[in-house]
């Protein structure tokens, strides 16, 4: 077993310090060491998107990175989307439009949509569909997810 290394990261605005073997995936570090269970792990090879987080503002698969590589980074997980206990407009829209059933894909969906609407506040339905295609949902058939993304975009434009 290789020695554990120090890992220092800021997650959702909070500084964390932990120790991890180099082989520990960032997704497992978030879940097992930081006990942030919002980030889901489906496939561990980059396909399903459930583990998507923001890494220095960019969406990445946390299952394809080692925790030791994250030292110094600012991370946002699904737990960081709501503010002061109030759901984010994207979360409200997912709720109102029934954009989840089992909820397994939802953390990856929310993070993906959060980044997408930041980059593209006024998307077409086609663009929204493309954005969420990188996260696999086996329940909803995506129709309501796309509706929720469009509704969230509108809520956010009104609020802005």
């Amino acid at each position: 077993m290789a020695d554990k290394r120090q890992v220092k990261v800021k997650v959702n605005g909070v500084e964390y310090e932990g120790y991890a073997e180099p082989r520990k995936l960032l997704s497992d570090f978030l879940r097992d060491d930081l006990e942030l269970l919002g980030t889901h792990v489906g496939c561990e090879h980059g396909i399903c998107g459930a583990c998507t987080i923001l890494f220095n503002g960019e969406p990445i698969r946390s299952c394809l990175m080692f925790a030791v590589q994250a030292t110094g980074a600012e991370i946002m997980t699904v737990e960081g989307i709501a503010e002061n206990g109030k759901l984010h407009p994207i979360q409200e829209a997912f709720n109102e439009h029934h954009a989840l059933q089992c909820g397994f894909c939802t953390p990856g969906m929310l993070i993906t949509v959060y980044h997408f609407l930041k980059e593209n506040p006024n998307p077409t339905e086609e663009e929204a569909r493309e954005a969420v295609s990188g996260v696999l949902c086996r329940c909803t058939g995506y129709t309501q997810i796309v509706e929720a993304v469009m509704a969230a975009a509108e809520k956010m434009r009104i609020a802005a």
Partner: protein, 294 residues
């Protein structure tokens, strides 16, 4: 599954990385974006004993123009290339091809060096680099060497990089916009999947629309990306018409170099048939966009 244990190193210069490759021996691997390697490690299809992480070698992350070449550091992310104004202006086919790679989060981490060394014959950047006659600059213990894209890919998932070498730079001849027609077309099962067959076409034209040189690279039809030599020869010196495009597409699919395998994505016959369809579609798209841009 989880990866097996490994030693982890973070060199900050190319020299340090090369020294680590020497001292750690055969079982050491470079990690760049990790988008192919970590997935393979999670499956234990790769079990490196040491990882040499080049993400801290900031000197390997750049895009510049030098005379008639676009010069790109090996650690440049796919996403950075996709949105770079310089790439869009000087080599738009590269930016376009990259939009076909997986999904956004993959492109934010994946690097040009990583996908070239990984050498998947259906991967967008390897195919495009073969169409563009890109040059690969490789650093090793006894100095640097340069390989053409055509010599860089040896076979399925195998590039000419030796275990003690590092790909450091990619040099791509820029495309003059007024005299270049190009396209990148592919077929995949689902949006974001690896291509079943893909074709990158670059036509250099004169002012009368006569093709001076055609460069057509095909992926998914052989263990490496291959050029459609017979089709290229047919097009050279000709005015582009629908009928010559169709003739070229037939020649491309009949080429000896088009020798696909069957796998669970597609049969060999289907890939061969699609080589014709995509070459025709690609040349048409290149020509139509070129005419439309005038």
């Amino acid at each position: 599954m989880k990866p097996t244990a490994f030693e982890y190193f973070t060199p900050s210069t190319v020299q340090e990385a090369l020294q680590l490759l020497e001292s750690q021996g055969d079982e050491a691997k470079i990690i760049a974006g990790g988008q192919s390697l970590v997935a393979m490690m999670n499956f234990r299809a790769a079990r490196p004993e040491a990882l040499i992480d080049i993400n801290n070698i900031k000197d390997l992350d750049y895009i510049r123009e030098e005379e008639d070449e676009l010069v790109i550091g090996a650690l440049t992310r796919e996403r950075t290339l996709e949105v770079s104004p310089l790439v869009k202006e000087k080599c738009p086919i590269l930016a376009k091809a990259i939009t076909h790679i997986g999904h956004l989060p993959i492109r934010f981490r994946g690097t040009i060096g990583g996908t070239l060394v990984h050498a998947d014959p259906t991967a967008e950047i390897p195919i495009t680099s073969v169409a563009l006659d890109a040059k690969m600059k490789i650093a090793g213990p006894s100095g640097e060497r340069v390989l053409n894209a055509g010599e860089f890919f040896l076979t399925y998932l195998t590039s000419a990089i030796e275990e003690n070498e590092l790909l450091v730079e990619v040099r791509i001849p820029t495309l003059p916009p007024k005299t270049t027609a190009w396209s990148y077309v592919d077929i995949s099962r689902r949006f974001g999947d690896f291509a079943i067959v893909a074709v990158a076409s670059v036509l250099s034209l004169d002012n009368d629309g006569v093709c001076k040189e055609a460069r057509i690279a095909m992926g998914g039809v052989a263990p490496t990306p291959v050029r459609a030599k017979e089709a290229e020869a047919l097009l050279a010196g000709q005015k582009i018409t629908d009928s010559i495009i169709e003739e070229a597409a037939i020649k491309a699919a009949e080429s000896d170099d088009v020798d696909p395998d069957s796998d669970y994505h597609a049969t060999a016959e289907y890939r061969k048939a699609m080589t014709k369809v995509l070459t025709q579609r690609g040349l048409k798209e290149a020509w139509t966009n070129f005419e439309g841009s005038k």
